[in-house]
Symmetry: C2
């Protein structure tokens, strides 16, 4: 429809000259996107930003004073880098904080196990709970259990997460994390343990949110924790021997009803169409056990560095480039939801959006989610990304977790799909630290994002 | 040479039959040692033993009830396998036990660090200590420091451990663990932190003993802890920025003056020379943070399986094969020392000894420590080990940590040198669990030890 309208105009040359936005990238712009990508491979700014965030702030759990320090860090950093309209958009949320967490097999073979509370878990009380363990091979098996068999027991769910390049094992394995506490409660269990949702064999338990935090109180499940993989193996070996396993579990998390989080926003105002927005996202909060280097310090470094390079190495973009560092992603995409509520009227002007939130692995696919007939145009924005080795992807991109609600409102998104083979070794563990990021891999990401944002901010039209 | 000699003797058969011990291995015995090794590569008994110990006992710190359970496990297991003269030789020792351990940077960038107390550390008291951190690049640099500069401060020693196949990086890096607390005390420091003595970049702090436990009280150093490598990196980054780092440290270990440990002994009595002993050792205790699979469950599995296979797959050996599972190795070779004291009169009959205590990596060298003129004879015992791929080694074998005192008394030793490239990734961390052992690697070790013990118990003479 829009295309026909443009064709019906005779002065095509003038349109091309004056309306590059309407036409998709010129050869010169495609060449420039390649040139920028090649140049950015040699830069280190993305890594320097992750290093700064993870060193100077460290862990930054949603709604805590540490996340507040992360916002201060971000505002200072973004202003110093020369971004405009740097601001925080605050929102409120209940805040869950970890307490003590201990699990000990009392019989038949007394020993401590490495565990961590799942986000949103209820407390066992300071005495803890003690019960025999009933093992299940999957969440489905627990769901199928007879309620009477779990009265006074502790449920355990095994199920090994599948390691994949595209992270597809996470959705499957994550179900037990999200639902176990509530299903176990229905069955009358005292508490529930799960094998960590993760792929590492190192002795780290993986945390993660159960049900998403919303403005409504979350219904209480039973106390819930994840076992490190070697400890899950250990428990499963003992259960397989047929012996009764008696376990003591202590978890003392607490929830404060009112805390504050916020999204940090910074812009490069567009020169010709400042009202049209290209949104680059990442999330600023992390889990509390590590410095959140891959989740999501890497994303922060990637999108901030890409936007900074655009600012310095090209002319002022036609459209506004908006960097959004979301708050409170980990506890339920609270920042992504707040952004949509606060920017409802403006969403129609969001030309395209993407979030980097999958570590620092290299990009191997460029995916879109554009309107019918606009897919090829959206794919054109991945020209430089493909030059770096990425394959063209389909039109079912998620765009990133914080874009869920925006996507629901019709904002087109792309995903610069990263290699996540190792991501779930580190994700939500104490081991998510700076040393796990390879600077050259991070630079590859910055290069890809720079070439993408250059084209998105200077060429093409809408992608709805 | 041997061929000619064989030909020149008329009554060759009789000599071979009656004086195998005096003559070194016959061709038939060498062939048998190869055959046994090949057969053992296909067995899984060594792994089953490690699995049983690490699952049914778990962590087993010297002098604790858990180590007592390990001895009970060992006695039961060794009797069940058919060994004779299974017994425990007890000894006393002071027992150090870990308490709380927390470190937190208070300024400039508040955050928790992953640490662990060093074995034998004194307590900070339940309030902990607070001080500014003074960084040193090495133990030597701390030693060179002016005493006045550390009053009221917390010393930190960096220095990255070198990863090597032969473990030689450990001795160098270990010096700071052994001495830091005492040197820091001389300089007036409140406490000392060290970069972990280990090679992993995972977020585990490595513990380990400072000064060896003896019957004498150990002089008190300042409270001492090791940082996980990523946390050492973090601290060093902040120190390098030139900012003053203020840190709070809480360590509350306690020492009980009187505890009990013991060596577990089992034998295959020799048929012809029962008074002559071939000693196979490993240590039964572990650090408290993990199930001690590579340190030293693997050694227990290797030597017990090798001796069991000898018992079942060959005729009763000429000499007595004695398996010694030492207690309290980690806290200062206490079991090795006690063994020498309890067996002083018998040491002259110890033909040769060796301990397996370097994980489950494959054997790449066969080393001896034999008397002058006896080196070639001792090297002959490594025939099957070399067939599996090991190189001939020198004559400076340590034999293993618990053999230190025995060696001092003149007992010849050999070392079946394992590949320790990855060993210090796991050693003394919570990550030392069963899943880190590759069953085929463990079987390779059992095969090598079986071929060695077969030759040592049936051929040759003394090696002094």
């Amino acid at each position: 429809m829009r295309y026909l309208k443009h064709l019906s105009v005779l002065t095509l040359g003038l349109i091309l000259a004056g309306h590059a936005l309407a036409q998709g990238p010129t050869e010169a712009q495609l060449a420039k996107s390649e040139e920028l990508a090649r140049w950015a491979l040699e830069q280190n700014l993305g890594y320097e930003i992750v290093e700064s965030l993870t060193t100077e702030v460290g862990a930054r759990l949603a709604g805590t004073e540490a996340e507040e320090r992360a916002r201060q860090w971000a505002v200072t950093k973004l202003k110093k880098l020369g971004f405009k309209n740097v601001r925080v958009e605050h929102f409120d949320l209940p805040v869950w904080e970890r307490g003590l967490e201990r699990a000990e097999i009392l019989a038949p073979y007394p020993q401590a196990l490495v565990i961590t509370s799942l986000g949103g878990s209820t407390s066992t009380g300071h005495q803890g709970v003690e019960g025999d363990v009933v093992g299940f091979s999957s969440l489905a098996a627990l769901k199928a259990a007879d309620a009477d068999t779990l009265k006074g027991k502790i449920a355990y769910i095994g199920e090994v997460m599948t390691r994949t390049q595209d992270g597809s094992g996470y959705g499957v394995a994550g179900a037990k994390r999200r639902e176990a506490a509530y299903v176990a409660k229905e069955k009358g269990a005292l508490a529930v343990l799960i094998r960590s949702v993760g792929t590492s064999s190192h002795r780290f338990a993986h945390t993660g949110q159960m049900r998403r935090v919303t403005s409504q109180p979350i219904p209480d499940g039973v106390p819930a924790a994840a076992l490190a993989a070697p400890d899950a193996d250990q428990l499963e070996r003992i259960l397989a021997s047929g012996k009764t396993v008696t376990l003591h579990l202590l978890l003392t998390p607490e929830t404060r009803p009112a805390g504050r989080s916020g999204n940090v926003i910074a812009e490069i105002p567009g020169k010709k169409k400042p009202e049209e927005i290209v949104l680059l996202g990442a999330h600023l909060d992390s889990w509390d056990m590590a410095t959140g280097a891959v989740d999501d310090g890497a994303g922060v470094g990637i999108v901030v560095a890409a936007a900074k390079h655009l600012m310095d190495e090209t002319k002022r973009p036609e459209r506004t480039v908006r960097v959004v560092l979301f708050g409170a992603e980990e506890v339920g995409l609270v920042g992504g939801k707040a952004y949509v509520e606060m920017h409802k009227d403006e969403l129609k002007n969001h030309v395209i959006a993407s979030e980097s939130d999958f570590g620092a692995g290299r990009i191997w696919r460029f995916e879109t989610r554009a309107g019918e007939g606009r897919v090829a145009a959206a794919q054109a924005l991945g020209h430089g990304v493909r030059m770096l080795g990425a394959a063209p992807g389909g039109n079912a991109a998620s765009g990133g977790p914080d874009l869920l609600f925006m996507r629901g409102e019709g904002v087109p998104v792309v995903t610069l799909k990263q290699n996540g083979w190792d991501y779930f070794d580190l994700h939500h563990t104490p081991n998510d630290t700076l040393d796990k990021i390879h600077p050259a891999d991070l630079a590859h990401n910055v290069a890809a994002w720079l070439s993408f944002v250059y084209l998105a901010a200077n060429t093409g039209e809408y992608y709805r």
